[in-house]
């Protein structure tokens, strides 16, 4: 494991970023085009699609939503994004922003130019097929450790999360960060109560203060709704899994980020600019988080789960790690790695950390995850509605 020569093989992008997949993304910029996007992706090998419920509303969440779409369209795992639009100015704004964000090629197909849904689907299919062939012909090339932008996620936590899967993921994350990769911890609710421990690991005291402030801001935002988050969490599923308090959940959740120092704090869907370990302010909602990761250049995610969940992303391979063998050995079509062996006493934390590290490399190099096999392409727009930030 001390060998620091990178075995990674990826797709270099013109601005120095790296992808570990070479998807054609069919991105509808209006909800009325979601079905068309799905149909196009289903008919095109190598293409993926998302669907959503946004109709171009310009409200309080407009900035958050346009940033998400623009970032998502430029994720480095994408060879080219084919954006389906109605042909409105709002959509043009998102496309311009996506182009400014990244040089990931983007093709726009407008319903107003096509003249009908049938013609839109026909011309998008033709374009997507041609692009998918080009993408398939691009070879993987040796990639440095810094090509990895790892997303750390957990969902459906239980009492084992903090002693098995999360610290094992921390071992893998620490090693990647040490080698020069980027790793992002998120889910603000899930560091609430542990923020002082993370702040103490900040490289710069300013970053430590930001971690404390982001958590305080989050708690204010939930208090504003008249809710005591420490009463509303852990969730019922967490309690059934044996967790007693939010602080206990947080102390376990934070272990995903190992012991590396924190380089910076990111707002939702903002991209890291240099390697290192970051904290991103996202909801604990699994898919809002994963969507924010995709918009922020994350190209591989490890997702620990106590209860088991099938979800994934259209553009980021998502490796599922079970926290306990009771679930991990049963829900085998959701779970890639069982870390329950740590509490079973058959493997050590360090050994499972090595297994996760090796799996990250294999998946980065092309092995499909369970969520990819199942085509779990969930996508959610994170909205704040009337809530304050």
């Amino acid at each position: 494991m001390s060998n620091s020569t990178s075995p990674l093989l990826g797709y270099p992008r013109p601005d120095g970023r790296w992808g570990f997949r070479n998807h054609i993304l069919i991105l509808p910029l209006h909800q009325a085009l979601s079905t068309a996007a799905r149909d196009i992706a289903e008919a095109t090998p190598g293409a993926v699609a998302i669907s959503h419920d946004w109709s171009g509303e310009i409200d309080k969440d407009f900035e958050r939503i346009t940033k998400t779409f623009a970032g998502f369209a430029g994720n480095p795992n994408i060879f080219t994004t084919v954006a389906l639009t109605i042909g409105t100015e709002v959509e043009t704004g998102i496309i311009e922003r996506a182009k400014r964000f990244s040089p990931t090629p983007l093709v726009e197909i407008k319903l107003s130019d096509a003249g009908s849904m049938f013609k839109l689907v026909t011309s998008a299919l033709e374009k997507a097929t041609e692009l998918a062939e080009q993408a398939a012909a691009q070879p993987r090339t040796p990639a440095p450790w810094s090509s990895v932008v790892l997303g750390l996620e957990c969902g459906g936590s239980d009492a084992y999360s903090g002693i098995t899967a999360n610290p094992a993921l921390g071992v893998a994350s620490d090693r990647l960060v040490e080698f020069g990769a980027t790793s992002i911890l998120a889910e603000t609710m899930e560091i609430l109560g542990a923020e002082h421990l993370l702040a103490a690991r900040a490289l710069d005291p300013k970053v430590g203060a930001q971690i404390i402030e982001v958590v305080a801001r989050y708690e204010r935002s939930i208090n504003y709704e008249g809710i005591d988050i420490r009463g509303a969490q852990p969730s019922r599923g967490n309690i059934e899994g044996g967790l007693s308090t939010l602080e206990e959940k947080s102390l376990g959740a934070a272990k995903k980020a190992g012991n590396a120092p924190f380089t910076g704090v990111l707002e939702y869907a903002d991209r890291p600019t240099a390697p290192g370990l970051y904290f991103m302010d996202t909801p604990g909602h699994d898919i809002e988080q994963l969507t924010g990761f995709a918009a922020a250049d994350v190209n591989i995610t490890v997702f620990t789960t106590g209860r088991g969940t099938p979800t994934g992303s259209a553009v980021i391979p998502t490796i599922k790690v079970a926290t306990n063998s009771e679930m991990g050995l049963v829900l085998t079509d959701l779970i890639d790695i069982n870390a329950g062996t740590i509490s079973d006493g058959t493997e050590t934390l360090e050994e499972v950390g090595q297994i996760i590290f090796d799996e990250i490399i294999r998946v980065a190099n092309g092995q499909l995850t369970k969520a990819e096999h199942g085509k779990h392409h969930e996508f959610n727009l994170s909205r704040l509605y009337g809530s304050t930030l």
Binding site: S34, E240, E288, R307, T309
Partner: protein, 272 residues
Amino acid sequence: MSLPEIWGFQHEGRGVGIRHHQLILPSVVCSTVVSRRIAQEVGGITFAHQHGCAIIGVDVAGIDDFFIALASHPNVGSVLVVGLGCETTQGNELAEKITKLTKSTEYLVIQNSGGVEGTVANGAAAARDLAVTYSHFPYPLEELVVGIELSRDVEIEPLLTELTHMGIKYVIISEAGGSAKHFSMLMSQKVHLIISFPDGNQPPSGFPLIPVLNVASNSPLHQAISSEFDLQSDATAKDMLEKIISTADHTKTISEQNQSGEILVPRLVRSV
């Protein structure tokens, strides 16, 4: 005049509908992909959404109420609720609430059904059983309720006169913005079908479960995609009435043919 004879479907606990849909209802975002696979296998209707987990405050009851309204809509013949297991909106509790309104309900939980493949297999079997038990039961439509969605300024009086004349009830939502939000509001009012007058900068939209007739305006966008509209900008109130009646009498709308239209679930509070 009164409504011509139209045969609808008697749906236990829901009244008479103009469509006979089976709803595969994911109680949480995490079960939407599994729900789609089940729906594809059995020919049911489902939709992707991002709710059911990490919700707080008024949204907890709000999401429940919205899903219950969908499940008890008159165009629905039976419902299969698919949950994950650890979410806030517990699938079994949601199914129990729906069962109080109509017995044509089953539920499945991914975490207790052997994962994805087990849930798809069990779900498809359960959905088929439901479809047999609560099958087509043609029944004369005594009352037709039409939702009128006005996202732009329209001279609507002539249509209202025609509807009243024909004994057709209606509910109007008149509000600027995207149609999807208005469709959800009309769904909760149990309208059988919707006639929509979208904003000139918005495309025609559909709604799973409810046939939507889209009427074009003279805007450049609508004129550029006029074939996507069921009724053109020069359609008279009589034309609209005729379409409403033929749609109630089983003719599919364009959005039904395309199976297009996402459901916008109303939310008030951010996710935690």
